[in-house]
């Protein structure tokens, strides 16, 4: 049975860290302001926010220490990764989850944070939050329903997402624990200690800036490693800024995904608002959801 960390109460503390790429302080300040002033929580800003070591928000040791500190601090009730980038794969095996296992708290983020979601679900069966990060709060983004969905998720409100129909959708109903994240990261984790078990689950994927042939190759990997055949449902999020080779692949990303799961019969929905763009609903990893793909609409509810 999945362990769900306690939902947040007014005044609870959210820790902000950068476990991967660097993030300037000014890009995080709006997020901090909104959490403190509008949402009624308090924030604890980690040492990696605004720090830089080349490409990263600090050395491996600095990023690890900051994350570990937030993980072990009983006053911190949730950890919001301020941004993704690349870097969690470098520290994941050094994180000590002992105290976290006893005292689960919400870990929030997407993209590179998929490594944490996948690792924690696989090894500790604790729910995490796939949701917008600090940058999504900027330029009035905090007002949109996607950033608001993060607030609602943290407050423990059960939300029902309703999205538009897509011509490639496959009708049906599926119930199962929700898992997934960034396709490139999920593929990268296959065969490792952080690898996902997908059988009987509702699986969601999204990606950005990949070559079409590489999307195809990653889907073949998931398929050939037995991750696509026994799903309760598949949610295809945004696949944005796709790139093609000089010799065109000949299929759109939607067609590639549709064909990859053609032989199965679970429900499939396309263009669900989980992506690297603004459209990115908060999703609780490991929590049971019902996916209903109908003729005119698609719903996903806890």
């Amino acid at each position: 049975m999945i362990k769900v960390p306690p939902y947040l109460q007014k005044g609870d503390t959210i820790g902000l860290v950068c476990p991967a790429g660097l993030m300037p302080v000014e890009r995080v300040s709006e997020c901090i302001r909104v959490i403190n002033e509008d949402w009624g929580f308090t924030t604890k800003v980690g040492t990696t926010v605004g720090r830089q070591y080349h490409y990263f928000s600090g050395t491996d040791e600095e990023r690890l220490e900051d994350f570990q500190h937030m993980l072990d601090d009983d006053n911190v009730k949730a950890i919001l990764c301020a941004r993704g980038g690349y870097g969690i794969s470098r520290i994941i095996d050094k994180i000590d989850f002992t105290r976290f296992k006893e005292n689960p708290k919400w870990i929030i983020g997407f993209s590179d944070v998929t490594v944490l979601h996948s690792h924690i679900y696989r090894n500790y069966n604790i729910s995490t939050l796939h949701a917008p990060m600090a940058n999504a709060f900027n330029e009035d983004g905090f007002k949109n329903e996607y950033v608001q969905s993060l607030r609602h998720a943290l407050e423990g409100k059960k939300i029902k997402y309703q999205v538009k129909q897509h011509e490639f959708n496959r009708k049906g109903e599926g119930i199962g624990e929700l898992i997934g994240g960034n396709l490139a990261l999920l593929a990268h984790l296959v065969g490792s200690d952080s690898d996902l078990k997908t059988k009987g689950r509702i699986f969601f994927i999204e990606d950005v800036g990949e070559y079409l042939y590489n999307i195809d190759r990653m889907l073949y990997q998931l398929k050939r490693s037995g991750k696509l055949d026994k799903l309760a449902g598949l949610i295809v999020g945004g696949f944005t800024d796709m790139k093609d080779t000089e010799r065109p692949f000949g299929q759109t990303v939607h067609e590639i995904i549709r064909d990859a799961v053609e032989e199965y019969d679970y429900p499939v929905c396309f263009d669900f608002p989980v992506s690297h763009e603004k459209e990115n609903y908060a999703l609780k990893i490991g929590v049971g959801y019902k996916l209903k793909v109908g003729k005119n609409k698609v719903t996903l509810e806890e």
Binding site: H54, S89, R224, R247
Partner: protein
Amino acid sequence: MERKSFIQSSVAALTASYLPALPKFEDSEDETLFVSPPALKTGDIIGITSPAGYIITQEIQSAVKKIESWGYKIKIGDTIDKRDFTFGGTDEERAKDLQQMLDDPKIKAIMCARGGYGAVRIVDKLNWEKFRAKPKWIIGFSDVTVFHSHLNRNFGIASIHSKMCNSFPDDWSTAEPVQIETIESIQLALSGVKMKYNVIPNSQNKPGIADGVLIGGNLKTLETLAGTKSDINTAGKILFVEDTGEYMYSVDRMFWNLKRTGKLSQLKGLIVGGFKIKVDEDADDFGRTLQDVVLEKIKAYRYPVCFDFPVGHQKNNYALKCGVKHRLNTSATEVTLKEI
């Protein structure tokens, strides 16, 4: 039993009944179970097929002429000149062409005309029974890593990692000596000569001597085979990797993949070939060199490591026999790899 798997297994049983029983090869770490296809003799036929990207006849002419000058005959497959967008024909067409060459007893070796992308889309459509009963050399690199890895993991049959038809120069008179030498190395490998390579030492090599079966190929392709039935077993082996067009962060992530899927801990030796790193002009410097990225992953291990081995998407890309036992010897003054 599901309908699909039932049909597949009855087809396999039917095919098997016409062939002598094959010895079992279960992902073995036993070196003695690895077999090499027979060496080629003058007059033997080499098939040319394109299991991945599309290629036209004109682009393989130079290779055809050169291979014929080695005394072999050529059979050009149906996929040459076929095109389905980026592919050398549809999945069915590419699988059929390769299948015919695998099954045709007159064909003694199969050279993939080029890489690109597509081998993984057909590998599970192929029936390997006749090939297993009468192994032949499969030749190529890059996307062809799928086949090297699949053969290595499932059958223990050796194959040749080397340049393909699209790397043979049109004008030999202007070709660099290393280009000619690396192409000639394919013929050496096919003729049964025991291979030996001398490599210029890199100051960051880790010294030592290792004996083991050589396996490897394109790193990205190896990563995307992880967890599948074509995934390599590296225990007790000498692993070589190369890649091109990847960002440094991606190369780093791929080496973490090797480490986190247990592929670096039980190696006998590691060979790092050419890595053409893509520069991301918008991003900050990654802060680590290729050597840093590799060495930090294997700090705890004592096996020999060699950098700048002449294998990869580059002119100095020598033919290497995957699935054949080699000795890697790295020292400050000399690096050699030889077939033993």
